[in-house]
Amino acid sequence: MRSRINKILAFTYRSYIFSKRNFYAFVEILFWPAIGVISIGMMGNFLSLSANMRAFLLTGAIVSGALQVTQVDVAYGLLFDVWSKSLKQTFVTPISHYDYIIGSWLFGLIRGIIVYVALGGFSMWAFHFYLPSAQIVVLSIIGIFLSALIIGMSVIFIILFFGQRIVEIVWMITTIIMLICGIYYPVNMLPKAVQYISAIIPITYFLEYFRTGYGFKPVFSHPLAIGFTITAVYIIILFLLLNIAHKRARQNGMIIKLSE
């Protein structure tokens, strides 16, 4: 057990060192999310939106900032090794996918919480943002950070399966997900066909649940139960897929290619 914890913490430690040495990482943590929140907050003021409507929009901006920071940190669990061409060095050690994913996610959680608290605090001060009940906030945020884990794991799976050349496309897909999950609007504003895709994205449900705290009726019933259920299913499936991708990478030499 102790050994497993050490392996997980090794990746948390590495993410911390990379973050400490990389100035851009510090900028990234707050700069873009802050730009998003300020833009949305100013737009809300300009349109003289009601308090709950403004909270609806700011929730999207704050959650999207925290989510992006955390999902990127999960993906860094593999990407740091890909960029340093040290993937082979890491995979010859007795680790599992669980170790580097959870280790990186833990660091992402810390950064995500910092972003959430900072943006939330700033929004309260600058735009009279308010939070719903503690229960709604905590449960939604747990769901959002688990969703970040899913997105990060998907990125890792795609890199292990298809190689590094596809990374840019992966980041595009993660941005499109934000549009589909109703980041600044209820999902019933989207075309019917797109709503079917929204229904299979966990973030949709956690955003909807969060917004019930501002009096908005959810488009999907039982958002929290469905959100956590599909999140659990995705996490299990992704760990299985990662084992398949790793097996395939051993067969086709992808680990070696990513280390050269």
Partner: protein, 252 residues
């Protein structure tokens, strides 16, 4: 008395597929059979592209064979390379790559933690290897800023963190200045002399093989052309040294 086999390889084949639908094939290994005995330094020699690194990557679990079987320490690792086996092995490559933002001490701490170490045990292993590989002056230097020789020392230090029973060295002195290469060879001998560690070394530097290896397999085009002690190989090829043996076998 014959020593126990620590690695048993039977009829392994490896083909790399590339191009559209994997139609272009490169045959890296074509039916390798060999046994490596516990505690020996076994050399895998051969020209560039012979399949040496592919062979080592299979032994360390980073590649899977298409055919054949691999047994390490009595365990069949052909399809499933367990973490229990990984804990007892390690690898050091020439021109190594490590995370560029970590300094020497941090890199050793990171890899030590990956083997499950923590606290005093981890600290001892880091300090012991920093001392063993003369890295004390560079302990706070980032990997990216290390000289080639010190990068190689770090790779060796990392490879010794878990006191491996099997150590794979893939051209460990490639690209090093002669004096540093000589020091690296001394370190390999020192490590081997201290413990019963089984070492598998690939190289195409013949004096290195002459100095370090007890038995040698010569690979060309993914096949073993000759295998035996240095004396046996020289006798077989009617040559005086391994350089002559290499040229004779490479042009066979």
């Amino acid at each position: 008395m014959k020593k126990e086999n620590i690695i048993e390889v039977r009829g392994i084949h490896k083909t790399y597929k590339s191009g559209f639908f994997g139609k272009r094939k490169t045959y890296a290994l074509r039916g390798i059979d060999l046994d490596i005995q516990k505690g020996e330094i076994f050399g895998v020699l051969g020209p560039n592209g012979a399949g040496k690194t592919t062979f080592l990557n299979i032994l360390i679990g980073q590649l899977e064979t298409d055919e054949g079987s691999v047994k390490v320490m009595g365990h069949d690792v052909t399809r499933n390379f367990s973490n229990n086996i990984k804990t007892r092995m390690n690898m050091c490559s020439g021109n190594p790559n490590f995370p560029w933002s970590l300094n020497v001490e941090e890199a050793l701490r990171f890899y030590g933690m990956l083997y499950g170490y923590s606290g005093k045990d981890l600290k001892y292993r880091i300090e012991h290897n920093i001392e063993l590989f003369d890295l004390d002056k560079n302990r706070k230097v980032l990997y990216d800023e290390l000289s080639t020789g010190n990068k190689q020392k770090l790779a060796m230090a990392k490879a010794m963190l878990n006191d491996p029973e099997i150590l794979l060295l893939d051209e460990p002195t490639t690209g090093l200045d002669p004096d540093i290469a000589q020091k690296t060879r001394k370190l390999i001998k020192k490590i081997h002399g201290k413990s019963d560690i089984t070492t598998i070394l690939t190289t195409h530097i013949m004096p290195e093989a002459e100095e370090l290896c007890e038995r040698i397999a010569f690979i060309r085009n993914g096949q073993i052309l000759a295998m035996g002690t240095k004396k046996e190989l020289k006798k077989m090829t009617k040559t005086k040294d391994l350089e002559g043996m290499f040229i004779a076998l490479a042009n066979q």
